[in-house]
């Protein structure tokens, strides 16, 4: 019943908002905010209740009914409850509640916020469905629902005058199309799983337990990895979240609250969650290695890009990509990898939401996203300074933050499973994180001259409350470990090792590099600087490919649809002759 309510209540509220809005009943937009807030709170309470009533090691399945019947085969509408689903469900509901609360103070867009709240609630439904679905079809349902919300919310500022509105639109569509093409992987996986299950005589198809309790084939795992790469922005499908400054078409065009919720803390984790579930029960060692390699490349790549970007939101976006890369690295570890990845996901969700909201406040007040125009801005507000520094420290993996422990576990396991070379590369990724963090921190806090306009005295207290809540959650996200770790707890937990020492050294070196970026930059050749600034031209490359494909389509269009009667008839004749000749001569074989 609790799980039913988790979907029914937000859906009813959503319908209510839709009816009130479309009936053009003039009511205060705060009513919509309150409705959304109550719904968010309700889902948090349900998730906490599920957590409290949950017995460790227990997996619960509850079937609501049959959604689709195809002959002997059926697809059931049912839930899957275990520690992972409850944890991710709880995190996403808490963050949604926080963001709804914060949005009232951040978004002052008149009636347009009604659409915003409606989409946030739809997102909440999609996310809960994705997490609790006991059937891959419903996981996909939720997966696509959050994708649609992401598209619409990125494009939220479409009404703005000039290029801003156009950019918002294009960015939304870019996210939809890139993740949509990657979703082909998800569908291929569904097809292959259906084939395998039907061949094995199963009638209840695509149920999570049936799929993941046995080893899945390499090709299914690879297909799911492609889907996850799109949703979780792994290299080279990262560019919908963060593009080079010269292109400036990415998810960061959306409101910062949306970036915090969807493109940092929740939706982008969907791919990690999916792969964690898939690989937890074992895949081939080669598949693990590929996941690890994708994560490693992504973490290093995004770390480098973050160093040479001048937009504060984009730096955070690259940082998200980099941390998702770390989660992929963890997923690529056979023993307890999924466990570590989900723990890092938990830690990351809270501090990254905190960072985005803090950045939102800065952008809101300073009316710029350019970091060199935000010099020393944090110095005027101590709460903001404290919260931001704590979040940045956690991001950099400085002890004793929760992310330090999860990163340390990743590094340690990489050393155990993949040897010294990959261990060093992972350390480089850790160092790069510290580097871009310290670069930003230096600019925001330590620069001596603060812009006159950058006064933070008028920040509403309620937003400070939100930041404080997120600070507490970031600190206590460590506690989620207890919940995860009932019997799957890895043997290694912060034992003093060479790996630990080296990771600390990497953080220190990275911090020094970040702090002295201007000095270091003098030694970097211009071409390399340019290459990094343009994010290695990945976005440019895909833009070119897109244009080429469009051009090809245009040519096909011109050739096949000229509009001329003669050409229409000629096409008819050609097709008819081809069907007759090919069918008669090839299918019939030699009897003619």
């Amino acid at each position: 019943l609790l799980l039913d309510l988790l979907f029914i209540v937000p859906s009813v509220v959503l319908i209510l908002i839709f009816l009130l809005y479309t009936a053009r009943i003039q009511i205060n937009t705060n009513i919509y905010w309150i409705l959304s807030l109550i719904t968010g709170l309700f889902t948090v309470i349900i998730n906490i209740t599920l957590l409290i009533n949950y017995n460790q090691n227990e997996v619960k399945e509850s079937i609501l009914g049959v959604w689709l019947t195809l002959g002997d085969y059926s697809i059931s509408l049912s839930y899957y409850l275990d520690a992972w689903s409850i944890t991710v469900g709880l995190i996403s509901s808490i963050l949604t509640l926080v963001i709804i609360y914060f949005s009232k103070y951040y978004l002052q867009e008149g009636n347009r916020v009604i659409k915003y709240y409606a989409m946030i609630l739809t997102f909440l439904i999609g996310m809960q469905m994705l997490v609790y679905a006991n059937n891959l079809i419903f996981t996909f349902f939720g997966w696509e629902l959050v994708g649609i919300c992401s598209w619409l919310l990125i494009g939220f500022f479409h009404y703005k005058e000039g290029k801003d509105g156009e950019k918002a639109n294009l960015s939304g569509r870019k996210a939809l199309i890139v993740t949509g093409v990657a979703d082909v992987g998800f569908l291929v996986a569904i097809i292959l799983i259906v084939f395998s299950q039907i061949s094995n005589g199963m009638t209840s198809i695509l149920e999570i337990n049936g799929i993941f309790s046995s080893n899945i084939s390499n090709i299914v795992a690879i297909a799911l990895i492609i889907a996850a790469m799109g949703k979780s922005a792994q290299f080279p499908l990262h560019f919908w979240i963060a593009s080079p400054d010269s292109i400036d078409i990415d998810a960061m065009q959306g409101p910062t609250t949306v970036s915090a919720l969807i493109h940092a803390a929740t939706m982008v984790n969907a791919g990690i969650y999916l792969i964690a579930r898939t690989t937890a029960f074992g895949v081939n060692a080669e598949v693990y290695f590929w996941i690890f390699l994708i994560g490693l490349i992504t973490a290093i790549f995004a770390g480098i890009c973050a160093l040479n970007t001048n937009d504060i939101k984009r730096i955070l976006a690259y940082s998200t990509i980099s941390q998702l890369g770390f989660m992929f690295i963890a997923l690529g570890i056979a023993s307890y990898g999924s466990f570590i990845a989900l723990w890092h996901l938990t830690n990351h969700a809270f501090f990254k939401a905190l960072l985005f909201l803090a950045a939102g406040i800065l952008i809101h007040l300073a009316h710029t996203r350019k970091i060199n125009e935000l010099e020393g801005i944090l110095r005027s507000n101590k709460i903001l300074l404290g919260a931001t520094l704590l979040a940045f420290a956690t991001l950099a993996g400085i002890p004793p933050s929760a992310a330090f422990f999860s990163k340390d576990m990743i590094i340690h396991k990489v050393y155990e499973e993949y040897g010294i070379t990959y261990f060093i590369l992972t350390l480089i990724a850790v160092g790069l994180t510290a580097a871009y963090v310290f670069k930003v921190v230096r600019v925001l806090t330590f620069k001596s001259e603060s812009n006159a306009t950058n006064s933070l005295e008028f920040i509403p207290k309620s937003t400070m409350i939100i930041l404080s809540v997120l600070v507490i959650l970031s600190i206590f996200s460590f506690q989620f470990l207890k919940f995860f770790a009932w019997d799957n707890s890895p043997s290694h937990m912060l034992d003093f090792s060479l790996a630990l020492v080296l990771s600390l050294i990497a953080i220190v070196l990275g911090s020094a590099l970040g702090y002295h970026t201007i000095v270091v930059k003098k030694f970097i050749p211009i071409w390399l600087d340019h290459l990094v600034r343009e994010a290695f031209y990945i976005d440019h490359f895909f833009s070119k490919v897109g244009k080429l494909l469009m051009n090809l389509s245009y040519q096909i269009s011109k050739q096949t649809q000229s509009g001329s009667h003669y050409w229409n008839l000629a096409q008819f004749s050609i097709s008819a002759i081809v069907i007759l000749v090919v069918y008669l001569f090839f299918s019939v074989g030699g009897f003619l």
């Binding site: 659409k115 629902l145 097809i191 259906v194 096949t560 229409n568 008819a576």
Partner: protein, 511 residues
Amino acid sequence: MNPTLFFPLPIFLCLVWLLILPLIRIIESKINYWQIKGSISIFWSILITGSIVYELIDIKANGAREISPDFQNLDIFHVLSFKLTQQNLMIALIVSFLFFAIMLFSWKYLRWETLLDDYGSYKLYYYFLFFSCLTGFFVVLFANDAFLIFVGWEMMVIPGYGLVSIRPTKRSAEAGIKYAIISSIGSIFILYAVALIYQITGTLNLDEARTRILAINGIETDVSVWLAISFIIIGFGVTAGFAGFQTWIPDAYGEAASPVGAFISGTFTIASLIAYYKLLVYLFPVSIFDYAWLFIVGGLITMSLGNSNAFFQKDYRRILGYSSVSQRGYLLFGIGLVLTQVGGLSVTESIPSIELGFKIIWMFAISFAILEGLLFLIIGKILFMGIIDNSKHESRVKGALMNYPYLSTILILTCIGLAGLPPTIGFASKLSLIILAGMTSIPIIFILIFLINSALSLVYYSRIIQNLVFTKPYKREEIGKIPSSMNISITLVFIVGLIIGLQPNLILVYL
């Protein structure tokens, strides 16, 4: 004498209204009031829908029924053979519901679309042609005889030419002629195929013909059979949008009035699939005559052509035309999947798989009819709202729905439904097709082409949404109050699409 001994009740009702319509026209001209035809047409379409529900309840209780009047020594009446099953009645119910919604939409719409003050005559043609199309569709749907299918087909497509060119513009007339020429050639192929079936089996009754085909020794080496199969694929391929025969579709949809596009896009496609099912799949078992790959390859080419053409269109109804081509491609590919699925099985063993596979095809076709119809109606309403120059060019109707949250929500859900995303019927049907692909063992590359096509369709569906909902409106004259009949019509179709999307089993059990 009970007339339903000759015809299924829905066909009988259609024929009655076709006889009455010209008389109503005379009454209208006498009293100089032109809304009678439209009003009674709405009522009549409800009556037809009700008759289908009645038949469906009856068939559910008593099982499938055959209507085959036996007139001694009058062979001609043997052709009048119909079969009513749960499956074809469910399809009829959805189509007649859509038809009712379109009649409701047309009520106030027609005066504007025809751009005429004296539009009384046009309305007669309009309703007459619409009801003729529906009659033809029902005949194809319920017929159990090859020749009757041909007759029904012609009853459906010939008024279709008229409907496409109903708007008094040169381009409309040209589009109608293009369709008429290509479709007429297709009809010749169909007629030859029917003749060949008679030559091979000595009967035109489908059940009898199938029995005889299975009993003939060495049938698989009979050239006439292979010719009949090829002719059926080509003949119905025109309306099914088979690769190479699809050229008329964008022109016709681009120039037809929106309610016409809403009706013919889905209904004609369903009719062509029914014809394929009855005359090809049922009559010539794929286990003996291997034609599955033609549908696989044809479907893949069709969907690629549709999608690649849709990217560049600036005219919304043409985009819908190409979208319709690509959706037909998915359907043809789906038929290919069904037929591939039974490869290696005997004729008897293959029956359950074929039936199961076609459940998915019908589901997809219904989804396509509802969503594409809905999109045509929405575009029709947008054109109605902005009367500045009757332009469908996207720059002219830019941002038309930005300040209409209700309609923009429906448009967004419809477009994403056509792209196969949740929560409407489009998601359930696309997922069913994907599950069907999982039941077969065709090379993964074919499946990949299908999936990539499906993903790329997001490019133009999202562009429609972006331009209509998320762009600053073009300054234009607004017509003022929009007739509520249009809103009701759109809402009804949308609700049906949403309910089936959330609970597809509601109709699947009947299919």
